[in-house]
Symmetry: D3
Subunit: 146 residues, 6 copies
């Protein structure tokens, strides 16, 4: 099993706010991430596919094609946009990194697996909100030893 | 002459828009940087002081004190804020990186020189809007050979 | 299952030395890492929590709170300190990166899980001694196929 | 179980080309990676060993010794070389990152495990072709939940 | 005076060889950089323009337009190419980083100044051959104090 | 004029302490950098030579030879050492980054210029104590406009 990763970047505005809660709860819970006039990030997204290389090409996935799928499914709707207001597939969720990686995984799963070698899966999506704050969604790792 | 640099980070939203021009001019000139609902960046700022080390401390400037001045003069007003709407000293300017480094330099010059060794100057302020887009203001370099 | 990571930095001195062995064994085994007058590193620590986002906040863990726990439990006792001499919870161990990540994991497990969403676990602690030398402790991955 | 990683660099030329296919297929499949006069990369390799620290040294593996094994088994044959023409253990494979990590893992497995603590395994080999294109081979992770 | 920098990447093969010298001189002078079957790098180029921001746009230069000029004048002829064989404007020079930055500066000077604000100059071109080996050409700095 | 830079790394322990001042002054002035049992850093040094490329080699300086000079003159005496106690050419100075870059410049000037092309000068030495704290010594830049 080989794991292939493609990294991409986008810049977006957001604000953490649960609309079902009073303003005071939001300010206390999210602190400066709740400031009303938005802030933003240079997001880095890492998309990882797991599979066997195709014997004719040596590719699990053509990274040029994967780049285009990431651009189409994530960067085009999100880059230079407001994640709370502008992105159809993010409506109704609080744009924490945790919720974003899950939403990006759903956006990417079918089109990424369609361009990958037979039997490959979209293994994980990782998002760097800043160099120090990172979230990842991976449905294939299990926490067994608890 | 020794050059001492301190790096800091902040996250902010902005939008490029010249309010004296029609919307159509702004959209054409600034492209996706003009999108109405803002976008944002993880800004990195580098502040450089030039001077002679103090003989008692070996410091041109105590970088812990310089860190606090940068926090007070730039990060506190800008971090998690909207650079077009929220920052008093940025009112009336288009928040391009070029204009930001000049404004940050003015914010920092007096307090930085006040904490530096005798004869030191604030040499330059550099801003990374993204890893690939960078601006710097330095009043001490000259373009002589043109 | 979402994985959330927070990165932090500290600077410390150390020396590799097994006090139960003769000096000659230590010099031969640890080479320049055994030099008597210490050396040091800019350590980078990455702490990863695995869990489900809380539906009200969208957080597996508030990264600002996680930052404070890392500061209190690891950075405060270790930053600008000597790992062989100054840190109570490192007494009696040789401060290799392998032993440090295990000790940091024990320091962090309870307080990190106490601030994380229901059912979350401290998934792993990773330490960069240099950009090229890295250790990680993760009790949840298993080596099954051997 | 502790995971210890050592990073190394090498520079090499390559070209993606399946010699059993016509030129036209190769040009269409590999695009600019198929250009006839070669191109090249600053490859970064990360080698990870999993095991228990030796109680006398606190090491899963001495990273100085691991560095030498990586130099001998991967860097010496590959650095400043042409991966299609010059490297005996890469003959007959298309030098995609996927195929390279698998070949490097085979090169490294025995000598790395021979220098590691009792019971340790070569856990994975990861290769950065560019900062954005990454492949990893790890025989110990399984994709169970499909 | 504001300095604006745009960073870009390309991958290329090359070999250091002075065709007017015997093979033995080349092997002794350039070592592994002279190996006959080429090697290659992930080059990073940084292009810096110095000037005054245009008062209407706040730009010394539109970095999106600068990106296109770098792509057209440097990346298109060089990316995934052999710098000794494939690039018309590099014919007859040994492709050391020193010679490359000078050649890239000549390629970029007119078109970059044509898209920049009135009075701006192409200040410097910097090239990272590896993370550790860097060259820069800047005709505006002088070494006066010798 | 071309500027060529080589980057290198070393790990060392140090402590900021002016032995001519009372302990209380040192503790107040240097804070945690004055802790008695040392701390340490992964230092990065950047050495820049300015000159004209030699027409036969295209080199301002052979970076492999420059690497060896840096190793001999800076890394060998400093790596894995205590900068206050172990390094002959640092005796009697407080090892701030400001004082270190000046001392390293003196160590490197003659041997670096001896291996560089005719007329070249050691232009600057830059030191990263951490990613955020940086000092540089360059005797060729002047602060004219004050």
């Amino acid at each position: 099993m080989i794991y292939v990763t493609r990294k991409a970047h986008f810049n977006a505005a957001h604000r953490l706010q649960n609309p079902e809660k009073p303003d005071e709860w939001n300010a206390r819970t999210f602190g400066k991430c709740n400031y009303p006039n938005w802030h933003g990030h240079n997001y880095i997204i890492e998309v990882t596919v797991a599979g066997e290389p195709d014997p004719e090409t040596g590719y699990v996935v053509d990274l040029g094609t994967l780049k285009k799928v990431i651009e189409e499914r994530v960067l085009e709707p999100c880059d230079h946009r407001n994640l709370n207001l502008d992105v159809p597939f993010l409506q109704g969720i609080i744009p924490t990194s945790e919720n974003l990686v899950y939403a990006f995984y759903q956006q990417l799963k079918s089109p990424v697996e369609a361009i990958s070698s037979k039997g490959s899966v979209l293994y994980s999506v990782k998002l760097f909100e800043t160099e120090r704050n990172i979230a990842e969604y991976c449905p294939f790792r299990t926490i067994e030893n608890i």
